[in-house]
Amino acid sequence: MAIEVRIPTILRTHTGGNKTVEGSGGTLAALIDDLDSQHAGLKDRLVTEEGKLHRFVNVYVNDEDVRFTGALDTEVKDGDSVTILPAVAGGC
């Protein structure tokens, strides 16, 4: 068992074109580190230099937006499904 991660179209350049990849870790931060070790460059797209999740990126663990569950500290476990999406917003 592992954690399944769905990758948005533009970030599939890091995953050899794969729509979903697998990783492991006890928290979202650890999972992203593990993913980055397999798919170099992924972490830089998701996490800012200050170590925070990029504000224009939405990450969900199962159905929950991690903004409401502790962001990068959100706990994850085998069998969870993680989805990464571009936030869609704007204004005049």
């Binding site: 937006d65 571009p86 917003a89 204004g91």
Partner: protein
Amino acid sequence: MLRIDRATYDAIVAHARKDHPDEACGVVAGPEGTERPERIVPMLNAARSPTFYEFDSADLLALYRDLDDRDEWPVVVYHSHTATEAYPSRTDIGYASGPAADPRTHYVLVSTRHHGPETGLAGDDVEFRSYRIVDGEVSEEEVEIVESYLFGHSPTTVVYD
């Protein structure tokens, strides 16, 4: 260039008119990897604001799951400006340049600032323009309206520069 069918064009404009003075937003989905905007999906503006729009976080997840099931992607992301021109704002550019945003997306901006209910004039007008936004750089593109996608790409009736 954005090539879009008449019915979808009309539906985007109608959505913008209906939600005025709040900003309206949505996507037009098409087969993944293609440039064909075939299926309009109006979204709720979670901000319900005349100056900001936002897809609700849960709605966004549901939308992408549905697109994924259909092997589609958002060919077009559209929203309206209700008091300013149909040109991407700094906020629009920021989000569209985000690290997970696909630069192949067409960003359609509609402005309802001069439409009938706003001005009381009979000859109302809604601006409809399309852009690519890549790494903070905006480039406007031509919009070609075709009568239907289902029966090929002709005849071309109107080309907006």
